[in-house]
């Protein structure tokens, strides 16, 4: 929502700019670790999530609405892991729950229409540095669990059951590559979905602003339909925010299932 005054030009990518807020020159071993707007929104997400979870800590026998909501989220993740991994999936509930809720809250907070009060929400899940790190964490868990539980037998994951012996030299590299691509697809999917939605909203908003700036005719012809479309896409983006968080958590649990149970 960076309207550059008179020219009324909207740069749809400007919203993804990272700006240092504190400690611009804070270094650890030569790496700059400035506290940026991205870090601020991570912190806001964590705090909102923590406050949300406090409602689930009332531990009442007959839960209120808030406690019920928190319990339904933990139950949702628990059921998902139970369905995809089985009984062994229970020990991953803390991780998958953290992942799902962190991404979900980040996506939703990034959609808040705070621009109308002059604050710019920042969706850190639209940065592949962030989604990539989360994907690598998930992938590392898969590798660690896989090799811890099955040792070198874990490589049998790349040879599906019933593969004829002469096919193994061909199948094995294909399966291995598809396995190694997983962290990239996992991280990129979330990053692309979030960025695309925000760019689309920004572009449509620029149509609304530029249309009305060009006169009432353009305003009615372009601005109004764009605005209506924006409303619809906002609803869609809320859905996408939830779906992408779910997909990330679901795929992580499916990959963990591969490591737990091979196949």
């Amino acid at each position: 929502m960076a309207v550059a005054g008179e020219t009324a030009k909207v740069d749809p990518m400007y919203q993804f700019t990272i700006q240092p807020l504190l400690g611009e020159n804070m270094d650890i071993a030569g790496y700059n670790i400035a506290f940026t707007n991205s870090a601020l929104w991570m912190m806001i997400t964590a705090v909102v999530l923590w406050i949300f979870m406090l409602g689930g800590m009332k531990r009442e026998l007959v839960p209120g609405r808030w406690q019920m909501t928190v319990e339904s989220f933990t139950g949702f993740i628990d059921d998902m892991l139970e369905a995809n991994v089985g009984k062994a999936g229970r020990k991953y509930v803390p991780y998958i729950f953290s992942l799902f809720m962190f991404i979900l809250f980040a996506n939703l907070l990034g959609l808040l229409p705070l621009g109308i009060v002059g604050v710019h929400p920042f969706t850190f899940t639209s940065h592949f540095t962030v989604t990539g790190v989360l994907a690598i964490i998930s992938f590392s868990i898969v590798l660690l669990v896989g090799f811890w539980k099955h040792g070198f037998h874990f490589f049998s994951l790349f040879v599906p059951h019933g593969t004829p012996l002469p096919m193994i030299p061909i199948i094995f590299p294909i399966e291995l590559i598809s396995f190694l691509v997983r962290p990239f697809s996992l991280g990129l999917r979330l990053f692309v979905a979030m960025m695309a939605g925000h760019v689309l909203l920004e572009v449509l908003s620029s149509f609304v602003i530029d249309g009305w700036n060009a006169g009432a005719g353009f305003g009615l012809l372009v601005g109004v339909p764009s605005f209506l479309l924006m409303i619809g896409i906002c609803a869609l983006e809320i859905l996408v925010a939830a779906i992408q968080a779910y997909v990330f958590a679901l795929l992580s649990s499916l990959y963990i299932n591969d490591a737990e149970n091979l196949h």
Partner: protein
């Protein structure tokens, strides 16, 4: 695209803060709060299951008690029926025996009375004979002037009476 344009200058900060904050989320929320929330749910489910089991047990117990009561009730009813039947039979027997004694007394009285009647009739017949003999003696003396002895008169009367 700032994600790429700013990559070199921001990646360290992004990764650092993400690991720090996601670490907080994982350890404080994921490991600290989630298990307690799930414990609460588990406790509630357990309590519900226990309550249901207790209710089922109470129901079974009440069914059992009802069955036992029904059996006792049936036994009591049968015992009462038997008692009534016994009393009835006893009453029957005593009535019959009482009736029998009364009947035999009545029979004895009847026989006694009949004997008495027979005796009276015989006496009366003997008296009629005597009277008839005396009358016959008297009549024959007066009309034919024949003196008939008492024994002759009596045998004649007897003969006449035997002929009707």
């Amino acid at each position: 695209m700032p994600q790429i344009a700013q990559l070199a200058e921001t990646y360290a900060s992004q990764i650092f803060w993400l690991l720090l904050i996601f670490g907080f989320v994982y350890f404080v929320i994921g490991r600290g709060m989630v298990p307690r929330v799930m414990d609460t749910v588990g406790l509630r489910d357990k309590q519900i299951a226990d309550d249901l089991a207790a209710a089922q047990a109470a129901r079974d117990a009440s069914d059992e008690a009802e069955e036992a009561w029904r059996q006792r009730e049936n036994a009591n009813r049968e015992a009462a029926q038997a008692l009534v039947n016994e009393a009835k039979a006893k009453a029957q027997v005593s009535t019959e025996s009482k009736l029998a004694t009364v009947q035999s007394r009545i029979d004895a009285e009847l026989a006694d009375a009949e004997a008495r009647i027979d005796a009276s009739r015989a006496e009366a017949a003997a008296e009629i004979e005597t009277v008839a003999a005396e009358a016959a003696q008297d009549i024959s003396l007066r009309l034919a002037n024949i003196n008939v002895t008492k024994t002759e008169a009596r045998s004649a009367v007897k003969k006449a009476m035997a002929h009707g």
